[in-house]
Symmetry: C2
Subunit: 296 residues, 2 copies
């Protein structure tokens, strides 16, 4: 197995632009009433981020050769859910963060009330975008995304996180929290891409579930490493917050060295997982590498 | 046309209990992790409210003779969306209301961060509940509900409301705001009930659209009348807030007498609309009367 013929950068750039364009189309213009809300939604969503979740949707869709239109909808939906969670997480009653993607966070720019509504409306728009495709497996996509977003997914993980600040978590408790908080949406991102096809085999779903589990964990461990080692300017968000807030992290639990070794191990396992596939799995391999080796 | 053989109270009581039971089933128990979030979700949703939106779903389903199971899901979904909007609207950065359905509002009981997550998770659960039915028109229901909830529905109406406080609105501006803020979800409630059937005729949808438009308007005018005339204990929420916050209302715009006359006119028009139907429209007639004559 080799990834020498596939280069990640141009593939990622094309698909980052593709989801950016699709996001810009799906959100009402700043002139559409209510103008302030639509302006704030576009501010929160457009022009930033690595779009890792969208890339996962596109990569999984490539594995199963799904059509472009319903793949765009999947990529848009997972990015809208991600953006909504960032807007709400940054609010004063949650993480109280003034900076997001190098800009003032949504509530700093538009006020708390509008930020609250922005998050709510972005969530609705995610489900609407999927439903509007009328694609054969759209209802399945709604199921997966709703479960990943709700109380036994992203929102649930955030709730466990809130309750855990200042407590020492075991590694198993930490993993449960992150499976909910970030893992669930990463899994949904790949599955929504796969369900963008007319039909999807159980074998593909099972493979993507394993892939997502590895990547969800790797993503969080890298996040913790970066929070502990990178600076605010590089990250585009406030660095060093975990230690400040006395949060249990993979770094506080394992130390930097063992955390780095865990990421390396997850990356190698993931390449093994994809060993039976030809170049249709190249994007999945490249994203795995990107997630494990990113520096911001 | 006569409603003498149909009595609203027993029909409403049965269906209020039916949606209450379905809501209690669809929400994870207070023992399911994250326990605090699930406890707060159940606190915010169960044991209160007139369930007008659920009754509209059941009444519309009765008109088109939809099966019980997917009608329950429709009724649950619209009540979850309504409950989520109340939790977020009551938060300090929005209406800052301490009292809801005669109890401390969700953020007073569980804190702002949990209330934020409760609203987010209830919204996801609404879409999940519909999608999980796998009913023939479930995707259509997701479309209608997402549109009614988002930036050109309920959230949009709330945004216009925020921007309008202290301003004098024209009647047309006031109607637009309320069409978004409450009308959209009332319309979605009847349409989701109708789409609980295996298929739904254009004629039924068109009738229910007109019915919903009248009822959305009547509901809001009555709300404004009650806010101006009833006391906090009767309402189970803080009375007299509109005048205090200098909000434009149908009462401030038309005066009490003309507002009452408008409600009466809307009720009569709605009975006319349903004149061609037999007893399958009795629940819709009775809800119209209830909405127009309610005192809390």
């Amino acid at each position: 197995m080799s990834i020498s013929l596939f280069t990640f950068e141009p593939w990622a750039t094309i698909h980052q632009q593709q989801v950016e364009d699709a996001l810009a189309r799906v959100m009402p213009s700043e002139e559409t009433s209510p103008a302030r809300l639509h302006s704030a939604m576009r501010y929160a969503v457009l022009g930033g981020g690595k779009r890792v979740r969208a890339l996962l949707s596109y990569a999984a869709a490539e594995l199963v050769r799904a059509p472009a239109k319903s793949t765009d909808a999947a990529a848009v939906a997972v990015e809208l859910i991600h953006a909504f969670s960032l807007v709400h997480d940054d609010m004063p009653c949650m993480d109280d963060d003034d900076l997001r993607r190098g800009k003032p966070s949504c509530h700093k720019q538009y006020g708390d009330a509008t930020a609250l509504l922005v998050g709510d409306a972005l969530q609705s728009l995610a489900f609407q975008t999927i439903a509007d495709t009328n694609a054969p497996q759209a209802l399945k996509q709604v199921q997966v995304l709703a479960q990943a977003t709700g109380s036994r997914g992203m929102c649930g993980g955030q709730s466990i996180d809130l309750q855990s600040t200042g407590l020492l978590l075991t590694r198993s408790e930490l993993e449960t929290m992150h499976q909910y908080k970030t893992g669930a949406l990463i899994r949904a991102s790949t599955l929504l891409g796969a369900y963008a096809a007319e039909s999807t085999s159980e074998a593909h779903i099972s493979l993507l579930n394993q892939y997502s589990e590895n990547m969800g964990l790797a993503f969080q461990v890298v996040d913790d490493i970066l929070d502990a080692t990178a600076d605010t300017q590089t990250l585009g968000k406030t660095a060093g917050k975990d230690a400040l807030q006395e949060k249990s992290t993979y770094v506080s639990l394992l130390g930097i060295e063992e955390a780095n070794a865990l990421v390396k191990r997850l990356y190698e396992q993931t390449l093994q997982l994809l060993a039976g596939f030809d170049k249709q799995a190249d994007p999945l391999r490249a994203i795995a590498r990107f997630i494990c080796e990113r520096t911001s």
